[in-house]
């Protein structure tokens, strides 16, 4: 086992363990803070997939944005609504949890099915890319690749996403605006 494998399994273990803690903990705020550890470990796994840009984007958007937003939402919500949450019956097969349990089991089955069905080393598109040497190396400048692809091949999706974000921004500003004469 070389050092990369050890680090990979270490990160994977942290991601899984902290993810389990997020789901199982009764303490909501600690769950949110533990989610930060999960996101960070997943960012580390992205670095292993040579997606360092995605890893950093994950840190900026989720840790700097979404988590802070989650905490703010938590802080600003009233105590009564949080107490209401605790009254939900906690049995695994209760009416509230059954759909979630079914969906997660189905997803687990799907993942296992794919994992055992496919021989990842000999997929046709992977072997052809290896043969043509169309692979990204550790020393490559990955962000250049992303930039060129975003500005050529994926320009339309990028623009559509940006228009969607603009609409969200306008909507948020409208909601946050003070109501006139009320």
């Amino acid at each position: 086992m070389n050092i990369e494998t050890i680090i990979f399994y270490f990160l994977a273990f942290i991601a899984l363990a902290s993810g389990a803690f997020v789901v199982l903990s009764q303490h909501l705020v600690r769950s949110v803070f533990m989610f930060f550890v999960t996101l960070f470990a997943v960012a580390g796994l992205y670095v292993f997939a040579l997606a360092d840009f995605v890893a950093l984007t994950q840190v900026v958007i989720y840790v700097g944005g979404v988590l802070v937003l989650l905490l703010f939402a938590f802080l600003l919500s009233s105590k009564q609504s949080l107490e209401g949450m605790e009254k939900i019956p906690s049995g695994l097969l209760s009416a509230h949890r059954l759909p979630a349990a079914i969906i997660s089991l189905a997803f687990l089955f799907l993942l296992c099915f794919v994992f055992f069905q496919i021989d990842f080393e000999n997929l046709s598109w992977i072997t052809s890319a290896k043969a043509k040497e169309n692979v990204i190396l550790v020393t490559d400048n990955t962000i250049r690749n992303i930039g060129i692809n975003l500005m050529s091949k994926y320009l339309l999706p990028l623009e559509m996403v940006s228009i969607l974000l603009l609409m969200v921004l306008v909507g948020a500003a409208h909601i946050a605006r003070r109501e006139p004469n009320l």
Binding site: V63, L67, L71, T142
Partner: protein, 314 residues
């Protein structure tokens, strides 16, 4: 009342004092979060230094995403602050944490815009390459004010702020927003103990308090260094070549690089402290007005000018 001649030993006395002090954990505090929070704040800030270059060929981790990395890692500090505020289980701490996180998240927007406008001029996210392209070691053409080639002159003429003069305005915005980002005066609402009972660190004592404040001062140095690298030439010398006086060539090298970057950063930190003792504190609504209604539009204008600059002049 200083220790030593001219207060030279004051720092050491303060360190000893902070190490000796008792740890006090409030009885109702969330012990785990309360203990971890200062460490997270401290580590988040120090991780930022990994990507910052000190001299030609001297950078702890040479990565092609340097600027983005620093920007990303700084945003973790906000989480540590919320953790400290929540863990203290004290309404003043919690309100203080909310206040300073709201401030940091808001001011990240103008900072992001001006960083992008500087990156657009230097055309790379690699901090070391940004440094190279602001001096005589440049790997691409550098044009003073966009017209005069200064590849062999170097000095302050090759700095980003003089390559594209609107970046001077961008640097001013960066500086103001970075003051808010490290919770320094005139934006030091977290510390306003006379008006607002301090902030997220009200309950902290001893070494934990020291960690929070070390992080604040490290953050000051970090934003100063990032600003110096992006706008003020980084480790490049301010002295240009004059005819046969090759001042820029004499004063470029590893030790000169460390000297220049250290000098520039300490100068910026000195200005930050000078401002602290000069200006009164802003009220929280004035703080947000300044960010959203003044700095963000100007930063956006800088971004547009940078785009036009690249399109029209190159």
């Amino acid at each position: 009342m200083e220790v030593g001649k001219y207060g030279l030993l004051q720092t050491f006395a303060d360190i000893l004092k902070l190490i000796q002090k008792e740890y006090i954990v409030p009885a109702l505090a969330d012990k785990v979060l309360f203990t971890i929070a200062p460490v997270i704040i401290f580590v988040a800030v120090y991780l930022g230094f990994v990507a910052l270059p000190w001299a030609p060929g001297l950078v702890p981790a040479n990565m092609n995403l340097g600027v983005f990395y620093v920007f990303a890692i700084i945003s973790i500090e906000a989480l540590g602050i919320l953790m400290a505020g929540w863990g203290s289980n004290n309404k003043y701490s919690l309100l203080g944490a909310v206040r300073s996180v709201a401030q940091m998240v808001s001011y990240e927007i103008p900072i992001g815009f001006v960083i992008i406008s500087a990156v657009m001029i230097s055309q790379t996210l690699d901090l070391q390459l940004i440094n190279y392209n602001q001096g005589i070691l440049a790997k691409q053409d550098i044009l003073f004010l966009g017209f005069i080639n200064v590849n062999h002159v170097g000095g302050f003429l090759a700095w980003n702020v003089f390559q594209a003069p609107h970046l001077l305005l961008a640097y001013v915005i960066y500086f103001i927003a970075s003051l808010a980002e490290c919770n320094r005066a005139p934006f030091d609402l977290p510390e306003a103990e006379s008006e607002l009972i301090g902030g997220f660190h009200t309950e902290y004592t001893g070494l934990r308090f020291a960690f929070i404040f070390l992080a604040e001062y490290a953050m000051m140095f970090l934003v100063a260094m990032l600003g110096v690298t992006l706008f003020l030439g980084g480790w490049n010398t301010p002295l240009p070549n004059f005819g046969s006086f090759k001042l820029a060539e004499y004063t470029t090298g590893i030790f000169w690089g460390i000297f220049w970057v250290m000098g520039k950063c300490l100068l910026v930190v000195a200005v930050q402290m000078w401002i602290r003792w000069t200006l009164p504190r802003l009220r929280v609504d004035q703080l947000m007005t300044l960010c959203w209604k003044v700095l963000t539009p100007i930063a956006f204008a800088c971004l547009v000018i940078s785009g036009l600059w690249r399109l029209l002049l190159f």
